[in-house]
Amino acid sequence: MQAFTQLSGIVAPLDRPNVDTDAIIPKQYLKSIKRTGFGPNLFDDWRYLDAGEPGQDHSQRALNPEFVLNQSRYQDTQILLGRDNFGCGSSREHAVWAFMDYGIRVIIAPSFADIFFNNSFNNGLLPIVLDEATVDGLFDEVEAQPGYQLTVDLEAKCITTPSGREIAFDVDEYRRYRLLNGLDDIGLTLQHADAIKAYEAQRQKTAPWLFS
């Protein structure tokens, strides 16, 4: 997993609630058996004017000028500002892979759907929950100021705005530790292999039908 420590980058506002993972990466791209290459198809239905298919040269397709990430001021976006229930719907981790591949490493929203939230941490994408009023404020600032950037510091659990205002955020300690160090969850869990085996031995006695 890619480690995350600190990032300063362009912020783009995606002003709609319930952004679902079908919208983040449409189903036709889920046929890939790889983890990479999803970036050009991030938000495919919203981003392009034509219908996209896997294997196309996406750089030749007509862009939808209305879509936020296509606007010149939001080129090189690394931080996305979203609304409630971000990442709802399908469990597809391809949604997170698409953000990573595109170059977005942080998403800030008032709330995230559970599975997407988990998937993000497992890939080095940092989802940050801030209260509604703070998110509203950030939307106003981003829209008012071209080139708006935020600095996100995971070590300090702090976001800094261009005016120097600091916004603290909360993140689960275990996840923060893993993300800061780019640690593989499986390796950490396997340190407890004996505990897992002991559990299995015990459980086999009380619920043997689960092991037959």
């Binding site: 709609r16 609630p17 319930n18 679902d20 079908d22 919208a23 449409p26 189903k27 036709q28 889920l30 046929k31 890939s32 058996i33 790889k34 983890r35 239905d45 219908a51 896997p54 294997g55 609304r83 409630d84 229930n85 709802c88 719907g89 399908s90 469990s91 597809r92 981790e93 391809h94 997170v96 709330s111 759907a113 559970d114 599975i115 988990n118 998937n119 497992n122 890939n123 689960d172 300690e173 275990y174 593989d184 969850d185 499986i186 869990t189 396997l190 407890h192 292999a193 505990a195 897992i196 559990y199 299995e200 459980r203 009380t206 619920a207 043997p208 039908w209 689960l210 092991f211 037959s212």
Partner: protein, 471 residues
């Protein structure tokens, strides 16, 4: 202390508690399909890791498989590669596997219970959000991402944070013609699509107890559309009867022991829930979604709502966006909305009871002239076989429906079954998101009986009027 069903299931599966309060949770059953597993298998190989417990895995292709011409190779080369990759992984890792043309093949959430591979009291995961379905049998079942799929493969566990407890009680029975789908759509309409975020929802009350196991699966299936990763329902005699004699269910003395344990799978009297919702069963009518989120739902007798009356700016603009996408005008009676296609299928509503309910409406009627395609896609090869034994295929075919091979099909349109831009569909699936059923397609979620009613009348119709004529 009195415990909720969720508390019990959780406690039975904790391997260890980490310093930060998260737990390592043991996973009993791992269901695998072709879309979310290839990268996990690849990850295992790259790291030189083995499966922790091969026997815990049941694999099946469902998302990509065609619903016609199954004797031919899959036409789409990308889909074919993905299905073949699952075939290869299943044979390399020696998994229990139902290949495409096995009669036991079907949608992963239909075949799990059908085979008795998912049982009460288990923790069940799958790289698929609708894994919540299996909670209907008193199991803790939830969807996971591909990294977690790999984690479970390698360790048989997940690092989890315990969620909060919510109980949704349907007080009293629902009326005739009102189904499990209507109940769960009404619940989502009430709590919203994020209402269950961070909770495990236990569905309870007379309206839930009355349901068959199939109906309960429909309800738990859509817990995720209410934001909850898991939905659960207490075990009762219906649950136990359902599993008796299923291929993977315990036998003999093991069965007796299992049943004894399962009888405790209910919330204790006096257990405390962090949030309680009570809905009167008799107040629930057949539901139709009008927008692009499952919470955008109204009773069929209602009208398309007006954003101006939302009373909140963000909400109103969301509603207007949805209306624009759906090509609908506020105030239009739902029953005046004509549809182009009808899809009866998906892990929400493709079990035998669903097909019976739709066939009952279709029987002796014809698909209306304005319907371009009405299709029935059974949830599994065994559901299909049983339906054919009951003559349901003939009922559908005579009415003008297509009768297809099992799979996810037009629920997400990864195979050839899809909506064309602008087409409007009455669908028994679970998501009405933009372009879910095909680019710029328009989805209205309904029950199987309501979908059949829309097929034979050409527009949304309160199915109770059709069935009342017969009575």
């Amino acid at each position: 202390m009195a415990k909720t069903l969720y508390d019990k299931l959780w406690e039975q599966h904790v391997v260890r508690v980490n310093d930060d309060g998260t737990a390592l949770l043991y996973i009993d059953r791992h269901l695998v399909h072709e879309v979310t597993s290839p990268q996990a298998f690849e990850g295992l190989r790259l790291a030189g890791r083995e499966l922790w417990r091969r026997e815990s895995i049941v694999a099946v292709p469902d998302h990509n498989v065609p619903t016609t011409d199954r004797d031919q190779a899959i036409a789409d080369p990308v889909s074919r590669l993905q299905v073949e990759t699952l075939n290869d992984n299943a044979s390399d890792f020696n998994l229990t596997f139902f290949k495409m043309n096995d009669v036991r093949q079907g949608i992963v959430h239909v075949i799990g219970p059908e085979q008795g591979a998912t049982l009460p009291g288990m923790t069940i995961v799958c790289g698929d959000s609708h894994t919540s379905t299996h909670g209907a049998m008193g199991a803790l079942a939830f969807g996971i991402g591909t990294s977690q799929v790999e984690h479970v493969m390698a360790t048989q566990t997940l690092v989890m944070q315990k969620s909060k407890n919510m109980r949704v009680t349907i007080e009293g029975s629902v009326g005739a013609g009102v189904t499990a789908k209507d109940i769960v759509l009404a619940i989502i309409g009430e709590i919203g699509t994020a209402g269950g975020t961070g909770y495990t929802i236990e569905f309870a009350g007379q309206g839930i107890r009355d349901l068959s196991m199939e109906g309960r699966m429909t309800v738990c299936n859509m817990a995720i559309e209410g934001g909850a990763r898991a939905g659960i329902i207490a075990v009762d005699e219906k649950t136990i009867d359902y599993f008796k004699g299923r291929p993977f269910a315990p036998k003999g003395e093991q069965w007796e022991r299992a049943v004894e344990a399962w009888r405790d799978l209910k919330s204790d009297e006096g257990a405390v829930f962090d949030r309680e919702i009570v809905i009167q069963g008799r107040g629930i009518a057949p539901q139709v979604t009008w927008g692009t989120s499952p919470e955008m739902v109204v009773p069929v007798s209602d009208r398309v709502p007006n954003p101006a009356e939302a009373g909140d700016e963000v909400k109103a603009s969301g509603m207007q966006k949805a209306l624009d996408y759906m090509g609908l005008t506020a105030g239009t009676p739902i029953e005046e909305i004509a549809v182009d296609k009808v899809f009866i299928g998906s892990c929400t509503n493709s079990r035998i009871e669903d097909l019976r309910a739709a066939a009952e409406v279709a029987k002796g009627r014809k698909v209306a002239g304005n319907i371009a395609l009405a299709m029935v896609v059974p949830g599994s090869g065994l559901v299909k076989k049983q339906a054919e034994e009951e003559g349901l295929d003939t009922v559908f075919l005579e009415a003008g429906f297509e009768w297809r091979e099992p799979g996810c099909s037009m629920c997400l349109a990864m195979n050839a079954d899809r909506l064309e831009p602008g087409e409007r569909c009455a669908s028994t699936s679970n998501r009405n998101f933009e372009s879910r059923q095909g680019l710029n397609g328009r989805t209205h979620l309904v029950s199987p009986a309501m979908a059949a009613a829309a097929a034979v009348t050409g527009h949304f119709t309160d199915v109770r009027q059709l069935t009342a004529q017969e009575a």
